[in-house]
Symmetry: C2
Subunit: 381 residues, 2 copies
């Protein structure tokens, strides 16, 4: 199995509603990544998206983006895992390069949530027969997790708000973030609207448009393509029981535990080696649970890292270093590719005001549905 590196990234600013069409967003991100890698061709293009079939009436997106980007002819397939689609597509790109089928592969994520009502379509990540008919949405399931957490561990009322405050503070330094100029305090979070108790508006990532892409290459070729290769040290996907109600302990995030344990084993590393963690902070509770499931702290203690400032840029485990899903934005299918782009900037010392000092190793996680699917990647400079 060959080692795989990232040799190019492309990001578009996340916006509430982009003027570009879905295909233009995707193709622009691909072109930016190709230019960054200094290549004009790909052996394959894998795409991630969750909502376009309903919001834009468009399936078959990989081939469409390939054509729009001037790459017609190339292998082009779609990969998904609900809200973790971007990481699933990244994983397929890694498999193609690692196995030797392809030398240079593009992975693109795109989402145009401004096209219509996203929430009911997002809920299709849940069980359409046994959860959705009762009113379940991704928001309500995360609210259940948060209430369970508050009841079991009794953290201070403002504890989880610190995850949002940190994300917003970091987004200020990221030119691609949706919320670049919105200073948020703990008081702001606690005063924001209860959207699904106990989740407040500022506990939640926003509905938005975005596209991001990366170019992967065999590590043996990476040095010829870029001065800044970032190496993929691990890639692992796992699932949990599909429904929250079927899990012995929903707060354990069993899929995250499995996925991260497998990733650390692949890389021969442990949580102590991680310099920054791009978690799937779609909701503050998910950031907190992810820290615990990844082994940075024992169960029930994730919030303590946030309250103590240990998740800030100079902290013990910097989180959402360029805004995270909360403040960079969470254009679903594109999100993981934004995470990768940010990690590449961090590990190559190009993260500007968001730079984590001496960042050498990054952990990234993507969550599908209510943590039914979790995909973990580890990157090293």
């Amino acid at each position: 199995m060959r080692q795989v590196s990232i040799v190019g990234i492309g990001q578009l600013p996340v916006q509430k509603a982009h003027s570009q069409s879905l295909r233009q967003l995707g193709a622009t991100a691909v072109r930016l990544a190709l230019a960054d890698a200094g290549v004009t061709k790909l052996d394959a293009l894998y795409s991630a998206n969750m909502l376009a079939d309903e919001l834009q009436g468009q399936k078959h997106l990989a081939a469409l983006i390939a054509d729009e980007a001037g790459l017609a002819g190339v292998e082009a397939l779609e990969v998904g895992a609900a809200t973790a689609a971007g990481a699933a597509a990244l994983r397929m790109g890694i498999l193609a390069v690692a196995g030797g089928t392809a030398d240079v592969v593009g992975v693109v994520g795109v989402e145009k949530m401004s096209g219509g009502a996203a929430t009911p379509i997002l809920a299709k990540a849940l069980d359409a027969e046994q959860e959705v008919p009762g009113g379940a949405t991704l928001l309500s399931q995360n609210a259940r997790l948060m209430q369970l957490y508050l009841d079991r561990y009794r953290p201070p009322a403002e504890a989880l708000a610190h995850f949002s405050v940190n994300a917003h503070a970091n987004a200020a330094g990221n030119p691609y973030a949706l919320f670049r100029d919105r200073h948020v305090t703990v008081q702001d979070v606690l005063a924001s609207r209860l959207v699904s108790p106990p989740i407040r508006l500022l506990d939640s990532s926003p509905i938005c448009d975005g596209a991001a892409a990366v170019v992967l290459a065999a590590t043996e070729l990476a040095g010829r393509l870029t001065r800044h290769p970032v190496h993929i040290l691990a890639s692992s996907a796992a699932t949990d029981r599909f429904r929250l109600a079927d899990r012995p302990d929903p707060l354990a995030l069993a899929a995250a535990g499995r996925s991260v344990a497998a990733a650390f084993a692949q890389a021969g590393l442990s949580p102590a080696d991680v310099d920054l963690f791009e978690a799937h902070d779609a909701f503050t509770i998910m950031a907190c649970l992810s820290l615990e499931a990844a082994g940075f702290v024992p169960p029930g203690q994730g919030w303590r890292l946030a309250v103590a400032g240990e998740i800030g840029l100079p902290g013990r485990i910097p989180l959402s270093t360029m805004g995270g899903l909360k403040a960079r934005g969470h254009p679903i299918g594109a999100t993981a590719l934004y995470q990768v782009g940010e990690i590449v900037l961090q590990l190559t010392g190009r993260a500007g005001p968001c730079q984590v000092p001496n960042a050498r190793l990054a952990l990234m996680q993507s969550v599908g549905g209510a943590a039914t699917t979790v995909i973990t990647h580890i990157f090293g400079a």
Copy 2:
């Protein structure tokens, strides 16, 4: 890169409307394939489906089927390429095993088209901005190809009907086929309703429900798992310009040409080596064009093979040997997995009345949209 083999298959009878739910169909196919392979665990499960997000309100299908099949915990991702989804998922399974990431992988395809109006959702494989607003559907685009073919090459009026007659004749011997007892003659095809001129009802594959699965393993392990391993000699995906209108010659099926040429190169084989061809005969014109694009005959001559009986079981290039999309049925996401199952039966001498004598090598093709995406696999016993 490791060699990959098929060590288990599972098929459910294709029906107009199955009583089992989507997840039950998928999980049953997985269980059958696991039992056939004699394994109880998988390293990953990849799923294919095209319509469930709208017809059943369900996304995140790989994880759902994994749970329903008692495999919760396993890596489970969705792979797609419009109507070629099944072959795309198969390809990801091959990449995972070939690269050494996984030893034993399941691939499942499921579709429950009886859930609602499939045609407008299938049309989302076309360009939602520039084709669909003008009324284009997969049916109408294939009708354009057929009219173009009839105008350019002027075959006899009944020429293409022979593809349908052959498919129906072969389906009679396949216990999983939708049309097991419908004897169809050339006259029947020509007398059937014009659904989109010049395409008639009996030129077209049916709307139906089905699920099929396969288990893949590294060839070095395959001998321990089954007495009947079938080896994957090539896997290749390619695209064309997305829109028919942008192609210099739409009848050339450039994606098919690219994909099949790459596959033959991978396997070190040529069309002369092929004992049977499971083509994507969603419409008779597509069977004809696929024979030409694969190099079995020059452009404009595909129909001659059908008229001469060379596509029958004892013919030069047996086609749709167990009914094909036309008569076994075309439950979209499941179709390619049915094709694989049938090829395994053929290459291991277990195809019963459908058996192609001395079948050692099989070509399989899957078409996404109006031949925008074509995925080719080659199998050997």
